[in-house]
């Protein structure tokens, strides 16, 4: 048996048998919502692999050339070397377009999965002690993913990405006091300049992914060390973990999930066109796309930029431009609030010690109401990011639409919060009225919490020890 021989060979060199055994028996809870983070992890892996493929063909240079490639509609046009290489990948390299579209779709799914994962963690209060550090790391990963997504579609140097880049430049420039320095440090000067694309490329393919990979390893290491949380249920206490073992059932499910994520990304790359830069055309300073939109995950910033009234703040000789408030201050407050949340909640909570059993959203109505209000707030901003398109589609005036959205962005979250609170409170009441029956059953089955267990000794007797499994010659390993 090769597996056995190999493991003996490795063990005699690194003393790994005990660790590997405990690793194989590691317990993972079974719940669909625990897979959201896994989907994010797998999309990141797809991003790295497809990204390496693209890297081999992409030329990060904004030097201009006259295009004479296989896309005849642009024959003779003045384009940048970067844009020409993206056309080459899309139209000439075998399977190049597939890989490029997969890369872009995987980025969208990556962000979708991170946000869904974040919502799950937030609504079930999984960030409580001892998991605050992982909350902070997770949020940092989200920031890095957002930023790297922006870099990714900016370096193609098509008309849309060029527009996005000008807006990004303007946002950076709007930071009080250090804005101009920051912009020059980052972009190498006013746009356009030859350093901007190579710098963003270096950040996009190396610095940010390396940070993501490092933090991701730490994120997973923490989960491994601290073990997952459990949803409330029989046998699930602060002192136990319930689920399937890593080997073999969890491994099979997880690898299966990886393959399914791959299948979805590949199918989207094959059939759903995304970012067709040859249609957008190269970036031309004097041209502009009407209805230009950022990728959806930055739509809330775009929406805030549109809704915020044109107000400049003059501080004597100095200026805080209008862009600062919706595009720098608002996102900073959003992320600042998210970063601080576990610590703020701790001030109002009576939790003591490690919290390993999740809370259901309805058990914490105020927090859930806040979370839903925040979500609705972001949703209105996202809609506002496309208000010109919606106004055209709805055949209404943009001014009216914008006034309505300006009201809605404050009113809708309040309504959503009140409704959520009422629903949660009602559910909590209902659960409390039936708790008598539930408790009788659960007492018969298992203790519902650990408060009455004085030590680990009596608990251990109820636990299933890791199975003693043997690999005899007949097993199919």
């Amino acid at each position: 048996m090769i597996t056995k021989k190999l493991s003996r060979w490795v063990d005699s060199r690194v003393h790994a048998a005990k660790f590997v055994k405990s690793a194989l028996n590691h317990v993972f809870p079974d719940h669909w919502s625990f897979m959201l983070g896994e989907i994010a992890l797998y999309s990141f892996m797809i991003l790295v692999v497809t990204g390496i493929f693209l890297m081999l063909f992409f030329h990060a240079s904004s030097q201009t050339v006259i295009y004479h490639g296989s896309y005849h509609a642009l024959d003779g046009a003045v384009v940048s070397v970067a844009y020409r290489s993206v056309l080459h990948i899309s139209l000439d390299v075998p399977a190049g377009l597939l890989i490029r579209q997969m890369h872009h779709w995987a980025a969208l799914i990556f962000l979708w999965a991170i946000l869904a994962h974040l919502a799950r963690i937030f609504l079930t209060a999984a960030y409580r002690k001892p998991r605050e550090m992982n909350w902070l790391i997770g949020l940092t990963l989200l920031v890095l993913a957002l930023v790297n997504g922006f870099f990714g579609y900016s370096i193609a140097d098509d008309l849309l990405s060029g527009t996005g880049l000008r807006i990004g430049y303007s946002i950076l420039l709007s930071v009080p006091v250090i804005g101009p320095w920051l912009t020059f440090l980052f972009m190498g000067g006013v746009l356009p300049n030859p350093d901007a694309i190579p710098r963003m490329y270096a950040l996009h393919i190396f610095l940010v992914p390396a940070l993501i990979a490092g933090l991701l390893a730490f994120h997973l290491g923490m989960i491994w060390r601290q073990l997952h949380t459990n949803y409330p249920g029989p046998k699930r206490t602060n002192r136990t973990i319930v689920g399937s073992r890593l080997w073999p059932s969890y491994t099979a499910k997880s690898v299966g999930l990886l393959l399914l994520v791959l299948a979805v990304v590949t199918a989207l790359g094959a059939f759903a066109q995304i970012d067709p830069v040859w249609i957008y055309g190269p970036y031309q300073p004097a041209d502009i796309m009407a209805g230009a939109q950022p990728d959806w995950y930055l739509g809330w910033v775009e929406g805030a930029m549109r809704l915020f009234p044109g107000v400049n703040l003059h501080l004597g000789h100095w200026l805080v431009p209008e862009l600062f408030f919706p595009a720098v201050l608002m996102p900073s407050l959003v992320f600042g609030g998210l970063y601080l949340w576990p610590f703020v909640e701790k001030l109002f909570s009576r939790d003591e010690g490690d919290q390993n059993v999740l809370r259901l959203p309805y058990e914490q109505p105020i927090k859930t109401a806040l979370g839903v209000a925040f979500f609705v707030f972001m949703l209105v901003l996202l809609v506002a990011g496309g208000d010109d398109i919606i106004a055209v589609a709805a055949d209404s005036s943009l001014v009216e639409m914008r006034t309505m959205l300006r009201v809605l962005v404050f009113v809708a979250p309040i309504i959503a919060a009140v409704l959520t609170y009422l629903v949660c409170a009602r559910m909590r009441l209902k659960a409390a009225s039936s708790v008598g029956d539930v408790q009788e059953i659960s007492v018969m089955e298992e203790r519902p919490n650990d408060s009455v267990i004085p030590s680990e000794a009596p608990l251990r007797s109820q636990l299933d020890e890791a199975p003693d499994r043997t690999c005899d010659e007949s097993s199919e390993l």
């Binding site: 807006i167 420039l173 804005g179 320095w181 020059f184 440090l185 590949t266 094959a270 004097a286 914008r402």
Partner: protein
């Protein structure tokens, strides 16, 4: 699957569970078909005699033979997905080597491979792997006080063995400080200090206004209500220099008194870079005399020195003073009224 083994908990709203549910329905259908076929076929083995040991063993036998049947048809079902996967993969290789360039064909076959393999593995995990709930204790993360103290003792004990610690500490801190200063200095190479290009007002007095194809603009070039993009004659095509030249009816203009002479013949010129977020202010609505930025829909009143009238922009577009020379050619009377583009801290 025996009955005492619990199925994994299913979140009702989970999309994945829905997919698996559909597959379960597919499998159940197949099982049903299988049972029908089994009934139709003559039994190959005579039913086994019921052993004496009683009902429990009897039930076990019953469920085991049922399991055999499930496994047989289930295997067939899973095999279908595996075959689809392999066909997809082989299809991809063949298509690729035959030089097929269609993204749909290449991606479709590849997706079939991943999807088929994924479903195969997930079904295998669902049907033929143990769902026995494992329960394990969690270890308290915090170390016992004695270990914490040992840790502190190891650190402090080690540190106490160092002689002249205070000096070493100061040397270390100084070294780190100098290192930071050096690294920050190196960042200057990246372009830390904003250079004059940020504050430049682009135009020099006396420069002719030329279009993208290099032609100068004269007093008779435009009809009222029309517009053209112009550049300083030495920077044709430059992004920051782009200027929108508009001719309006002279009597409609409401420029401030000190700018009254900047619009000869009803020609006004403004920076074409939006003061909000730097997009080109590309659209001109002649009826309302408005310039509109397509990015965030800011509007600027051409008649009133490009003052912002709607949308998120707060500052007017920088204006370019104009005059007409002896030949009737339009020339810049100086630079823009402020640096073009979005605002920043020390713009004035």
């Amino acid at each position: 699957m025996s009955e005492n083994e619990k199925r994994p908990q299913g979140g009702l709203s989970a999309f994945l569970e829905l997919g698996l549910g559909l597959l379960d329905i597919g499998w159940t259908t197949l099982k049903f078909l299988g049972t029908v076929v089994d009934r139709l076929l003559p039994a190959k083995v005579a039913p086994e005699p019921i052993p004496e040991s009683g009902r429990a063993a009897d039930q076990e036998m019953e469920s085991e033979s049922q399991m055999d049947r499930h496994e047989r048809w289930g295997t067939l079902f899973v095999l279908c997905f595996f075959i689809v996967a392999v066909l997809g993969g082989v299809g991809f290789v063949i298509a690729y080597w035959m030089g097929v360039t269609s993204t749909a064909v290449l991606g479709g076959t590849l997706a079939l491979f991943f999807g088929g393999m994924g479903v195969t593995l997930v079904l295998w995990a669902r049907w033929w792997m143990s769902h026995k709930e494992a329960v394990e204790p969690r270890h308290v993360l915090q170390s016992p006080p004695s270990e914490q103290e040992d840790e502190a003792a190891a650190f402090c004990g080690g540190a106490h063995e160092v002689r002249r610690r205070r000096l070493l500490k100061w040397m270390g801190l100084t070294g780190v400080g100098v290192l930071v200063a050096m690294v920050v200095s190196l960042m200057r190479s990246l372009g830390l200090s904003p250079d004059l290009s940020l504050y430049s007002r682009i135009w020099k007095g006396g420069q002719r206004l030329v279009t993208l194809d290099g032609k100068p603009v004269s007093l008779s070039s435009l009809e009222p209500g029309s517009t053209v993009t112009v550049f300083p004659e030495d920077q044709v095509g430059s992004e920051r220099s782009q200027t929108v030249l508009i001719r309006v009816k002279e009597q409609l203009l409401q420029l401030p008194a000190e700018r009254a002479s900047w619009a000869p013949g009803g020609y006004v010129a403004y920076s074409r870079v939006c003061t909000h977020a730097g997009c080109p202010v590309g659209e001109f609505e002649a009826e309302q005399s408005l310039l509109l930025c397509p990015c965030h829909q800011s509007t600027f009143d051409v008649l009133r020195a490009a003052a912002p009238t709607g949308g998120p922009a707060a500052r007017p577009l920088p204006q370019l003073p104009l005059y007409v020379d002896a030949d009737g050619t339009l020339r810049a009377g100086g630079g823009f009224t402020s640096p073009p583009g979005p605002g920043f801290w020390d713009i004035s």
